[in-house]
C-alpha cells in the first residue's frame, strides 16, 4: 500500500451486483493527483463518446483523494464524477463533511460504479464488509429524511450521502447530500446516481491511514493551525462563514439581483451574515479536520410552515436564492436552501433556474396557467415552493426547468436565451461578471460550465481595472490550474485565500503524506493536463469548435448594469471576443478554441490530440509556437 492511499479500489457493477476489490493504482493517483484528476482520466478513458450520461455506459465515481482523511487542514473532501447530464462534458463535484475521510478509514480510495441497477440499492461499507443493499424502503424519501433514516437503521457513526426525489426523477441539476447540509451540487452528480438507482452511500471505517512522514506532517500542520488561529480573518470567518460576503459583494457590485438583471440589492441587510447569525444560527458546524468551522447550522422559521433545520445559507445560496430571487427575509432564504437540499437539487443551479423562471414570469413568457394557477413573483417563498415541487416531480412545465435554464430557454424561446444565466448548461455562481471581466471569462471557459471554483478573479479585476480586459486571460489560466488542485487533492481551499496558508505549504504536506517529493510546478502542470483533457473530452462529445461553447448569455454584453455602484458599467461584445482570443493564446489553443497538438503533446496527451484530429477539431498550429509557460501568477484572493 502506498503512503497516503488507503489501498483498495472498488469496482461495482450495479447491473449484476458484482463487487470487485482491486489494489489502488498508485501510478494513476500520482500522475493525476487523485480527486478530480482521477475522475477526469477514468471517464475520458471509459465512457464512450456517444453514451447517454444517464444511460448504462456512463460510470459514476467516488474518489477520496490522497489528502482526504490525513492530518491536514480541512482534509475533508470527497470527489464525485461522471459525464455530466447538465453539460454533456466532464462532470465533477465535491463536498466536505466526513464521507471522504470515512472512506479512507474504511480502506478505500476510489469507488467506480458501472451500469444501472435493476432496483433501488444503496452501498454499505463497514471496513471490509461491502454490500449493495436493497433501498426500496428509502426510495422516494427526501434527502435529509433519508439520511436520518439510514443513520437510525445502521448506526449514528455511519457517514451517509443520499439523493432526493429530484435525483430519482432525473432533474438534471440534482445534488448529493451528506451530513445534513453538505452537498456535491454541481454538474448533476445526484442525477447520475439516480439514473443508476443508487439511493445512498453509507460508510464506516476504523482503519489507520499510513503516511510517509507522520512526525514531519504533525509538526508542520500543527504549526499552520496554531499560527492561523491568530489570523485576523479567523474570527469573522468562524462567526459568519461565507455569508460574510453578501454585503461585500453588494458593495462591490457583483451580487446577482433579480436574475442577474442588476448587481445591487436594496435589501441586502435583510439577508446578510448578521441576519443569519442573529435570526437563524443553531450551531457552528465544521467539516472533518477544519479549524475554521465556516458551516452554520441553522433553523428557518416562517409562520404557517414547519420549522426546518439546515446548514447554510452559505454565500452562494444566500446570493442565488436571496438577492437573485428578491427575497427580503433571511428565514425565507434559509427555507429555500432547506427545500432545495431536501428535494435534492443544487441550490446554486436551483437559484439560477428559479431566477430565470421568475424573470420569464415577469415578462409574461410563462403564466399562472402554465404554473398550475400559481404566480411566480420576486420575493415570494410560497410561489417558489410550489414551483420547486413542479420541478422536482417534473410536472407540466416543471419538466422544462428540471433540465436547467439553457434547455428551458430553448423550450420557451422568445428571446429568453439572453437571460438564461448559464454557460455550457450550468448556471452561474453568485457573482455577476459584467463589471468583473476576469470573472466572466472564468465562467465562460470553466470545464464544467459557469462555476466559480475553477477561477475567481473579482479582487484581481478590482485591482487591475474593471473596465479593461487586457492581460486578464493569463491570470484566469493560472487560477484555473491552482484552484482546482484543491479539488484534486480533496481538501478545502478556503484557508489558502482567507488565512494565507500558501500552496507551497500544502505541497509540503502532500509530500509528507505521500513521499512523492513533487514541486508546486509539477502539480500545476498536472492541473493543466487535467484541464486540457477535459477540454478535449468536451469537444469529442459535443462535436464543434470549442469557441462556440464558450459564450455567456447575451445579457453579459448587451445590458449595462442598471443600478447601484456599478450603474452604467458593462462589457462590450468586442471585449468578450478579445478575452477569448487572449485566453486561447495563453493556453496554446487556436483561435477556434481548440487545443493544439503542440500543447497536448507537451502535456503528455498525444492520444487526446489524435482523438481530436479524428473529429476534425485539433487546433491549427500556432505561428511562432505555443507559450512555454501557460498562465501567469497573480497574488490570489480566493473563496
Amino acid at each position: 500500500m502506498a503512503d497516503g492511499l488507503a489501498g483498495t479500489t472498488l469496482r461495482i457493477n450495479l447491473k449484476t451486483g458484482a463487487i470487485r476489490r482491486l489494489p489502488t493504482d498508485e501510478a494513476l493517483f500520482r500522475r493525476w493527483q487523485g480527486g478530480r484528476g482521477v475522475v477526469a482520466k477514468l471517464i475520458y478513458d471509459e465512457v464512450p463518446r456517444d453514451a447517454d450520461p444517464l444511460g448504462p455506459k456512463n460510470i459514476f465515481i467516488i474518489c477520496a483523494g490522497v489528502m482526504s482523511g490525513a492530518f491536514i487542514p480541512a482534509g475533508s473532501k470527497v470527489g464525485f464524477g461522471s459525464v455530466s447530464p447538465l453539460t454533456n462534458g466532464h462532470g465533477d463535484s465535491n463536498m466536505g463533511g466526513h464521507l471522504g475521510p470515512a472512506l479512507k478509514f474504511a480502506g478505500y480510495d476510489l469507488v467506480v460504479f458501472e451500469d444501472i441497477s435493476p432496483r433501488p440499492v444503496y452501498l454499505y461499507i463497514d471496513d471490509d464488509t461491502v454490500q449493495l443493499r436493497d433501498a426500496s424502503k428509502y426510495w422516494g424519501m427526501r434527502s435529509l429524511a433519508c439520511e436520518k433514516a439510514l443513520k437510525e437503521d445502521l448506526g449514528q457513526d455511519f457517514e451517509v450521502a443520499t439523493i432526493g426525489p429530484a435525483g430519482e426523477n432525473g432533474v438534471l441539476f440534482s445534488c448529493i447530500t451528506h451530513d445534513f447540509g453538505r452537498q456535491a451540487g454541481r454538474t448533476g452528480q445526484g442525477t447520475v446516481m439516480g439514473s443508476k438507482k443508487l439511493k445512498a452511500v453509507c460508510v464506516r471505517g476504523s482503519k489507520s491511514l499510513r503516511v510517509h512522514d507522520l512526525e514531519a506532517l504533525k509538526k508542520q500542520v500543527t504549526g499552520i493551525m496554531l499560527r492561523t488561529q491568530k489570523h485576523p480573518n479567523m474570527e469573522p470567518w468562524q462567526k459568519y462563514g461565507t455569508a460574510f460576503f453578501i454585503q461585500w459583494s453588494n458593495q462591490n457590485a457583483v451580487i446577482p439581483a433579480y436574475n442577474f438583471q442588476t448587481t445591487y440589492y436594496e435589501d441586502t441587510s435583510k439577508i446578510d451574515g448578521d441576519q443569519l447569525v442573529e435570526k437563524c444560527l443553531i450551531t457552528h458546524k465544521a467539516c472533518f479536520g477544519c479549524w475554521m468551522n465556516c458551516g452554520k447550522y441553522t433553523r428557518a422559521v416562517i409562520p404557517g410552515k414547519p420549522e426546518v433545520h439546515l446548514e447554510g445559507p452559505e454565500y452562494e445560496t444566500g446570493a442565488l436564492c436571496g438577492s437573485n430571487l428578491g427575497m427580503k427575509d433571511i428565514n425565507h432564504v434559509a427555507y429555500l436552501n432547506w427545500l432545495l437540499d431536501d428535494l435534492g437539487m443544487d441550490s446554486m443551479s436551483g437559484g439560477g433556474v428559479i431566477g430565470f423562471a421568475m424573470e420569464c414570469f415577469e415578462r409574461g413568457l410563462i403564466t399562472e396557467a402554465d404554473l398550475e394557477g400559481h404566480p411566480l413573483r420576486w420575493g415570494s417563498v410560497d410561489d417558489v415552493e410550489h414551483f420547486l415541487e413542479m420541478v422536482a416531480s417534473r410536472r407540466g412545465i416543471g419538466d422544462w426547468f428540471a433540465q436547467g435554464s439553457k434547455r428551458a430557454a430553448r423550450k420557451i424561446g422568445r428571446g429568453s436565451e439572453k437571460f438564461a444565466m448559464q454557460v455550457k448548461g450550468q448556471e452561474m455562481s453568485g457573482y455577476d461578471g459584467r463589471w468583473a471581466p476576469g470573472m466572466l471569462l472564468s465562467y465562460m471557459t470553466a470545464d464544467i460550465g459557469a462555476h466559480h471554483n475553477r477561477s475567481w478573479t473579482i479582487t484581481v479585476d478590482m485591482a487591475e481595472g474593471r473596465e479593461s480586459v487586457e492581460g486578464r486571460a493569463k491570470i484566469v489560466v493560472y487560477l484555473q490550474h491552482i484552484r482546482p488542485l484543491f479539488d484534486t487533492w480533496c481538501i478545502c481551499r478556503l484557508f489558502w485565500g482567507e488565512l494565507d496558508v500558501t500552496p507551497e505549504e500544502i505541497v509540503e504536506s502532500l509530500n509528507h503524506i505521500t513521499g512523492w517529493g513533487v514541486s508546486l510546478e509539477e502539480v500545476l502542470r498536472t492541473s493543466e493536463m487535467i484541464w486540457n483533457l477535459n477540454r478535449c473530452h468536451y469537444l469529442e462529445r459535443n462535436l464543434a469548435d470549442g469557441r462556440t461553447f464558450d459564450y455567456p448569455p447575451a445579457r453579459s454584453w448587451e445590458d449595462k448594469i442598471p443600478s447601484g455602484p456599478g450603474k452604467g458599467k458593462g462589457l462590450s461584445r468586442e471585449q468578450v471576443e478579445q478575452m477569448l482570443d487572449e485566453y486561447y493564446a495563453a493556453r496554446g489553443w487556436d483561435s477556434r478554441g481548440n487545443p493544439t497538438r503542440a500543447v497536448l503533446e507537451d502535456l503528455g496527451l498525444a492520444d487526446a490530440a489524435d482523438n481530436l484530429e479524428k473529429i476534425g477539431r485539433l487546433g491549427e498550429p500556432i505561428p511562432g509556437g505555443i507559450p512555454k509557460v501557460r498562465g501567469e501568477k497573480y497574488k490570489p484572493k480566493a473563496f
Binding site: 492530518f71 466526513h98 435529509l144 500543527t222 457552528h284 477544519c290
Partner: protein, 144 residues
C-alpha cells in the same frame, strides 16, 4: 489540571480526535482517540464532546489492576497487564474508554492536552481547578 468541555462551542471538526491518536499512537485514526463527540443531528443540531473526567472508575473496576493514576492525574493503562477484557469500557460513566482491533489494550486519555491546543472554538480547554470542590461537582464542572 483538567479538560473542560463546552458543547455549545463545539463545531464537530474532530481535530481533537485526530491529534489524540497521533500523539498517543503515532497513527492517523480517529477511532484510536480517547475522547468522543456525539453529533445530534438533524435535531436539535448540537455537538457534545465527552472527555475523561478522572473519576477513577476504570481503575476501581479493572480486574487486572492494569490502570493506575499517574503523576499528572491521568489514569493510565499498563499495556503489559491489560488483557482488553472491556470491563472498564462498560464502567466508564462518560464512555471515553475504547477498544480497537489493532490494539491489545484499551485506549484511555493520557492527559497530554493536545486536544485543547488544537481546539479553535473553546469547546475543549485546559482547566485549572480553582479550589478543591467535591468529586461529583468536579465531574459536573467538567461538562458531562
Amino acid at each position: 489540571m483538567r479538560i473542560k468541555v463546552n458543547g455549545a462551542k463545539c463545531s464537530g471538526c474532530r481535530l481533537c480526535l485526530q491529534i489524540c491518536a497521533i500523539e498517543n499512537y503515532r497513527d492517523i485514526n480517529p477511532k484510536k482517540a480517547a475522547l468522543r463527540i456525539e453529533a445530534r443531528f438533524p435535531d436539535p443540531g448540537r455537538f457534545q464532546p465527552y472527555v475523561c473526567t478522572q473519576c477513577g472508575k476504570c481503575a476501581e473496576v479493572c480486574p487486572e489492576e492494569a490502570i493506575h493514576r499517574s503523576d499528572n492525574g491521568a489514569y493510565l493503562v499498563d499495556p503489559a497487564r491489560c488483557n482488553n477484557c472491556g470491563v472498564c469500557v462498560e464502567a466508564c460513566p462518560v464512555r471515553v474508554i475504547f477498544q480497537h482491533p489493532d490494539l491489545g489494550h484499551v485506549i484511555i486519555c493520557t492527559f497530554c492536552m493536545k486536544c485543547t491546543e488544537l481546539c479553535n472554538t473553546g469547546a475543549i480547554v485546559k482547566w485549572e481547578r480553582p479550589a478543591k470542590p467535591a468529586k461529583a461537582a468536579a465531574a459536573r464542572e467538567a461538562g458531562v
